[in-house]
Symmetry: C2
Subunit: 426 residues, 2 copies
């Protein structure tokens, strides 16, 4: 009977019918006796249309004005949703990020939440309203300008409000049934995960699973807010992401599954800096140059130095979209560092196996490599954490590799599941 | 070199090209050394599209949420306009009505401005910015909710900001060249008026001239802010609306034109309450019923009582859109009042002759009626103020009547002018 925060993505409120369907779901939760705070994204393609308008007006939109523009999207969806709820006989009020007390830093287009002061939301709830809050936006603490939170911003808004209001759970409604053991578009036998620990979800998210972004999971973990990822279409229970498995048997620790799932990512490229002098400080200079160009990198591998030459190769992966920036940045420091050449390769893919259980199961790595080997997949890079193993392969090998690993770890379901799967933008 | 407030309507910023054209005009004003505050409406059909969305979601949208929805429109146009100005190398910042300090009462959908506290606008100007402000919107003083100002709201925003900031002039850019002596779509020989007094403009506006709404003119008169109505397309000087003719000869009062113009209006209907007992209080009961139904009425005429029956007829005009509401309201009080029947007629038109000069020219009324008579136009109702005569005729007689009156008062220009003419929504 507590407070529930629900977040609906753009595909759930793409048109008037979608908005009415979401309104009915909210009202059902209200009727069950819960207080409800709803975070909503912009309708369907609204954000893309606004971006296109900006591109027609200027090649380099001002960050402040771009945020002002984009936040019009949620304003539309939240007002319509509040209207639809009122039509069903329940009180509702919509609030912009600023009105809801989402306070951010001043980094336009990818602001970070630094405080949430939901006084107006609390009042609206006390007066019996469903509170509808614009996702993805806030207001800068210093300049009082409108900011947007960047990718995954609406999910983060929902988790942040849930934390500030002491919600029981933060429900993230999307167009899939939950988090799966692998991308169901690739692995027909992927299973929906009923419960997953924050830790594993974080690794899946940062390894290519699109359902939740790592930023939102990190926030939820910090404030210990359980997330329930579920479909706004089917109404079925989805995946609970939390510290403790809610279905844990009384008085005993449930045996945790060794492996949570297999994630893959084909959005990255690989850059190899060939012939780097093998002496202290060279790697630091390379990655300082990359960092100064504001390029985010993922895996980093230094190959064994060929002792005869005194040179080594350093390879790292990064989003394809940042490839050109990185190449330019490295080009500018070529003379200073004295490397021989750069190799750029964007036909790669990454497969990651995630599971806290692998800590105590030494056979996991072996099984993983055996599965890839039997599928005839060549491994180009390897990187591991305590609860994850990732490999880089040719992009075209990714589907086969994911299926092989999924089967090898006994993750396949007994039946082929028919699910719709798609990422949501923000 | 002072402060100029410019307002651009939706047709001026209908697409990216329009926004860039407006940005160039603003920059030209800035280059001429002025501080510039710009008030902008929503792009083209945006508002209609948002209204349609609301209709798809609910038959009776909540006022608060409807305002939240509609204000997304200006948010889009103002952000794009600020981007376009920055691309031309000038600093610009956009502000919502709330950020600009437009404080209103809490009447959603047709709020009234009760205060303007433009501190952030003043700061933005001091820092060298062009300040872009969303028209048509404000924030409620009591509830802190977003409000909209209703029809003509953007013009009123512009005049209110001009008053609060002590602007030299408030320029209202639209898709016509200014205020004309008659609607140029009806009277080919209509002339653009170079200057018109607030008083005459108020009468024209309330008699059917669509270029400026009476509400905005009234505000400008109260704070003595000259309005310059002009085209955002041609760049030609338009019509100055002010207390004093800026072209008045030194040291002498210029002879004021007797007649400013001829307005017409075919948006009204006529209701006749037939057979009202001719005793004190009956008219009051009729108009109390109308007022309680929140119907605005225009002209009221009580015909001479037929002494033999002790009954009289009362006729009034009102917007066609409110006809049904008025008929229903009168139907409910029929027994209490004891009138015989109602006659509803929406095939009427109103022609009004406006001019402060008619005060001291007793021949005006005679000339007016002679012109209509010669044109074979039958007069159904007459109503006069000190500086206006209005008559109601058949709707189909309106164009001929307007032309006849325009000619009779010497308003025709020497050449046929080719102008584009159209009303702007808000």
């Amino acid at each position: 009977m507590g407070l529930v925060v629900q977040k609906y993505g753009g595909s759930s409120v793409a048109d008037a019918e979608g908005i009415k369907r979401v309104a009915r779901r909210i009202v059902d939760t209200r009727k069950a006796g819960h207080e409800v705070v709803v975070v909503v994204s912009a309708m369907g393609d609204t954000t893309d249309e606004l971006i296109e308008l900006a591109e027609q007006v200027t090649p380099i939109p001002s960050g402040r004005e771009f945020d002002m523009l984009l936040t019009a999207g949620e304003r539309i969806s939240m007002a319509l949703l509040a209207m639809a709820i009122k039509t069903l006989g329940f009180d509702a009020q919509s609030f912009t990020g600023s009105q809801a007390g989402v306070i951010t830093d001043s980094t336009h287009n990818k602001a970070r939440i630094i405080d949430v002061t939901p006084g107006r939301i609390r009042n609206a709830l006390d007066e019996g309203n469903v509170a509808i809050v614009a996702g993805f936006q806030g207001v800068s603490q210093v300049s009082k300008d409108i900011t947007t939170l960047g990718r995954g911003g609406s999910d983060t808004t929902a988790v942040a409000l849930a934390a500030a209001l002491g919600a029981e759970v933060c429900e993230i409604y999307t167009d899939v049934d939950g988090v799966f053991t692998a991308d169901p578009r690739v692995v027909k036998k992927a299973r929906k995960i009923d419960w997953i620990a924050f830790e594993d979800m974080l690794e899946l998210a940062s390894s290519g699973s699109k359902v939740l972004l790592d930023r939102c999971v990190e926030y939820a973990r910090r404030y210990n807010i359980p997330i329930h990822v579920r479909s706004s279409f089917s109404g079925l229970p989805g995946t609970i992401v939390s510290n403790d498995n809610p279905n844990k048997p009384e008085g005993g620790e449930m045996e945790q599954a060794i492996i949570s799932g297999v994630a893959h990512d084909t959005s990255e490229a690989k850059i190899t800096v060939v012939g780097v002098p093998d002496k202290p400080g060279e790697a630091a200079r390379i990655f300082r140059a990359i960092a100064d160009a504001e390029v985010n990198i993922d895996m980093v591998v230094q190959n064994v130095s060929a002792t005869s030459t005194g040179l080594t190769d350093i390879t790292f992966t990064l989003p394809k979209t940042e490839g050109q920036k990185a190449i330019d940045a490295l080009g500018r420091v070529k003379e200073g560092i004295g490397y021989e050449s750069l190799r750029y390769d964007d036909a790669i893919g990454k497969i990651s196996l995630v599971g806290a259980g692998m800590r105590s199961n030494p056979g996991v790595t072996a099984t993983f490599f055996e599965a890839l080997s039997e599928a005839g997949v060549n491994i180009e890079l390897i990187s591991t954490s305590e609860i994850r193993i990732s490999v880089v392969t040719r992009a075209e090998d990714v589907p086969e590799a994911v299926r092989a690993v999924h089967t090898a770890f006994g993750l396949d379901s007994d039946t082929d599941e028919a699910v719709v799967y798609g990422g949501t933008g923000r």
